[in-house]
């Protein structure tokens, strides 16, 4: 049981030891039955499954923003919490927020993206790109899916596009579709150069989720990237660059 770090094997259900996955069938039925019992029991609102949150905050303490009068009732239909104002300049906000994470942001006309990419690469760097990247990166290895993790570890940089970018949070989202490659190529090399078209930038998370829904329904994996990898695990002091690419360069194509 939890809170005990090494005693799970001595639990009374330890019969799973030898028979592998077999008890899972019973477990499924048991769990579903226990859920139905839990939801039907007790004295919830008459005639319906008891609301987990109820129509108003439970008595006890009221949040300051929902004063003693009872506070806002929970909405029954979930609807996105919208922004107060439209963002006038999505590009500027996105660039500012990406830079907040100490990623590098540059701007480039679409026609000269090749030069912008070249400028972001150290001299002599080995580079990998997805097969269908539309920007020419001379000398780059075009990924054919055969390089293993150890091979990728010997490559210095990767150049990709993105599927959508979020201004409010300074986030790039890759759906690993055209121009973005499989997940490993944007993970193992230490420098990620990501090209975002200005028209791919949306205001906030709900806009991004709407744009990404078709990708998810098509079964694509998604990688959300907000700055280079980072940790605050040592005295909450932020260190950029742990396991993912330690350098992130975002090129906004206009």
């Amino acid at each position: 049981m939890f809170g005990r770090r090494r005693t799970a094997q001595t639990d009374e259900h330890g019969q799973t030891e030898a028979d592998g996955l077999e008890p899972a069938v019973n477990a499924r039925e048991q769990i579903l039955a226990d859920i139905r019992t839990a939801l039907s029991g007790g004295s919830g609102p008459a005639g319906s499954a008891p609301a987990v949150s109820g129509p108003a905050p439970a008595p006890g303490t009221a949040a300051p923003s929902s004063p003693a009068s009872g506070g806002p009732a929970f909405s029954s239909a979930s609807r996105p919490v919208a922004r107060r104002h439209t963002v006038d300049d999505l590009i500027a906000l996105f660039a500012e927020r990406v830079a907040d994470y100490r990623a590098t942001v540059t701007h480039s006309p679409t026609a000269s993206l090749s030069d912008a990419v070249a400028a972001a690469l150290p001299a002599g760097a080995s580079v990998i790109v997805a097969a269908d990247l539309t920007v020419a990166v001379p000398g780059a290895l075009v990924d054919d899916g055969t390089s293993g993790a150890a091979d990728l570890d010997r490559i210095d940089a990767v150049v990709t596009g993105a599927r959508v970018a979020i201004a409010e949070t300074g986030t790039l989202v890759l759906d690993h579709g055209p121009g973005q490659g499989r997940r490993a190529i944007t993970l193992v090399p230490d420098r990620h150069i990501c090209i975002v078209r200005a028209d791919q930038i949306v205001a906030d998370v709900p806009d991004a989720l709407a744009q990404l829904a078709p990708s998810v329904r098509a079964g694509r994996p998604l990688t959300w990237i907000s700055g280079p990898s980072a940790t605050s695990d040592i005295e909450l002091s932020r260190v950029e660059g742990v396991h993912g690419p330690r350098t992130l360069i975002v090129i906004i194509a206009t």
Partner: protein, 480 residues
């Protein structure tokens, strides 16, 4: 690893020991105040930029989780269906032993003797690493803080930053001593600069990432509609574990399910701001089963109960299943800030741990668990900070009542006797002239029952010459 929470004394005694550690209290005060300030700044930003402010987002977050919990059986069946359609294999486990056995069997079936792990509360809850070790399988923690805890043969003390109780000098010492025993050692010239320590962890773990064949994770969210699992992280260790191995096994508490893709919206806006105090965490990975040519070729999902249906049956407490493990309640808790996480004797410390442990495991059978709901001043800061509006103080009080009820019929404690005596006195004062007896009872209670614990560091106020009610009677309410 042999560190264990087993045998941890109940909170008051465990806390006393931790309070004496001045270094720990400095580390905690620094860490919690830093993260509180970051969170507050971002909440203020949302307050200004979003319709209805932060509260609207909290309400939407609570509603997203409640929607799934209200129809949990249907959501799990839907999740099973969509995951299976996406090429994943779904397993069900009622408890820790079943879940551990499933994972161990899968690892053995692939002939592996090690796994790399994404930071995950649920695998700590079930003691997976220890269970795998008993099967001869090494489980490598890859989150920096978890690595510090694992290498230090230590216990986690915070949900988000498990090594929050360690400072840089201690971490350097742990790395120098222990890294070489389990892989690539730390460089001899290791300093205690956080960037240098993080770089040492990168080098140490790199070889494990590149060779591992099995990855193990939890999940922050599981979307029933699309069969998608979500892992939110910072360092990239999660991406490594979720992408590079051939086989991925995710242990997912059944309360992690959300109904629809859109339900992720409030939660993804609430979680990073509440946990690390960032607008968005560096990396979020989402995967829907197996993607040919990209990532693991075999994807397993273990759906785990382990007390969650018990919590769901508790009408007051079930809202705790909304928890998204952000740890905002820890960072604002006056008790946690002084004692740290170990005193709670569980991988879930702080205010959420004080309700989650009794809800998942039941009350009335363990002094350690029964002490947890009392480890709170009921100040309400946790509820105020909770991004999914879990009314923790309300649940704490309710759990206290359940604990008292569980012990009714046994030998009454001095506290129970005092409460009963007080109830009789206070309940009958209306029949006593002037309620004088009540006043005497109150004074007796204050001085006899509470006094020894009270006066160790606090003076009691001098007793007044007469009570208020006597004054009122003598002076006719001050009119004569």
């Amino acid at each position: 690893m042999s560190a264990t929470f087993v045998g941890m004394p109940p909170f008051p005694a465990a806390a006393r020991e931790k309070l004496a550690d001045a270094q720990l209290r400095r580390n905690l005060a620094h860490a919690t105040s830093t993260i509180r300030a970051r969170r507050a700044a971002l909440v203020a930003e949302v307050e200004a930029s979003v319709d209805g402010g932060w509260e609207a987002l909290r309400v939407a977050g609570a509603e997203a989780k409640d929607t799934a919990l209200r129809s949990l059986d249907r959501q799990l069946l839907r999740l099973e269906e969509t995951l299976t359609a996406n090429g994943a294999t779904v397993h069900w486990a009622r408890d820790a032993a079943q879940a551990n056995a499933i994972v161990a069997a899968l690892v053995r079936a692939h002939g592996a003797d090690e796994v790399i792990k994404v930071k995950s509360m649920v695998t700590q809850e079930i003691g997976l690493n220890e269970a795998l070790a008993a099967e001869g399988i090494a489980a490598w923690e890859t989150d920096l803080a978890e690595l510090i805890v694992q290498l230090g043969d230590d216990l986690p003390s915070h949900i988000l930053v498990p090594a929050i109780h360690r400072n840089r000098a201690e971490i350097r010492e742990i790395f120098l001593r222990a890294m070489g025993e389990v892989g690539r050692g730390a460089p001899a010239d290791l300093t205690d600069a956080p960037a240098v320590l993080a770089a040492a962890a990168r080098e140490h773990l790199r070889e494990k990432f590149l060779r591992a064949r099995v990855g193990v994770s939890g999940a922050n969210f599981a979307v029933a509609e699309t069969g998608t699992l979500v892992v939110v992280e910072s360092e990239g260790n999660g991406r490594m574990c979720l992408t590079l191995p051939e086989v991925l096994i995710s242990v997912v508490g059944i309360e992690k399910v959300v109904a629809t893709w859109d339900d992720l919206d409030p939660l993804l806006r609430l979680l990073p701001r509440s946990s690390t105090g960032e607008r968005m965490n560096p990396y979020t990975s989402m995967w829907s089963g197996v993607t040919p040519g990209d990532g693991p070729r075999e994807v397993h999902v273990v759906l785990l109960d382990n007390g969650r249906t018990r919590a769901l049956a508790d009408e007051v407490g079930r809202q705790a299943l909304r928890c998204i493990r952000c740890s905002a309640c820890l960072n604002v808790c006056p008790v946690y800030e002084r004692t740290g996480g170990h005193a709670y004797g569980s991988v879930y410390p702080g205010p959420i741990g004080a309700i989650l442990n009794p809800l998942l495991r039941g009350v009335g059978h363990s002094d350690q668990i029964d002490a947890l709901p009392y480890a709170s001043t009921l100040c309400g800061a946790c509820f105020e900070a909770c991004p999914v509006r879990i009314d923790i103080p309300r649940i704490l009080v309710d759990q206290r009542a359940k604990i008292v009820d569980a012990h009714r019929g046994g030998l009454p404690t001095p506290e129970a006797v005092a409460m009963r005596t007080a109830a009789t006195g206070l309940g009958s004062a209306r029949r006593l002239a002037g309620g004088e007896r009540f006043t005497r009872l109150g004074l007796w209670f204050a001085r006899r029952v509470g006094a020894p614990a009270w006066t160790s560091a606090r003076d009691l106020p001098p007793a007044p010459a007469e009570s208020f009610r006597r004054w009122w009677k003598r002076t006719d309410g001050g009119r004569r």
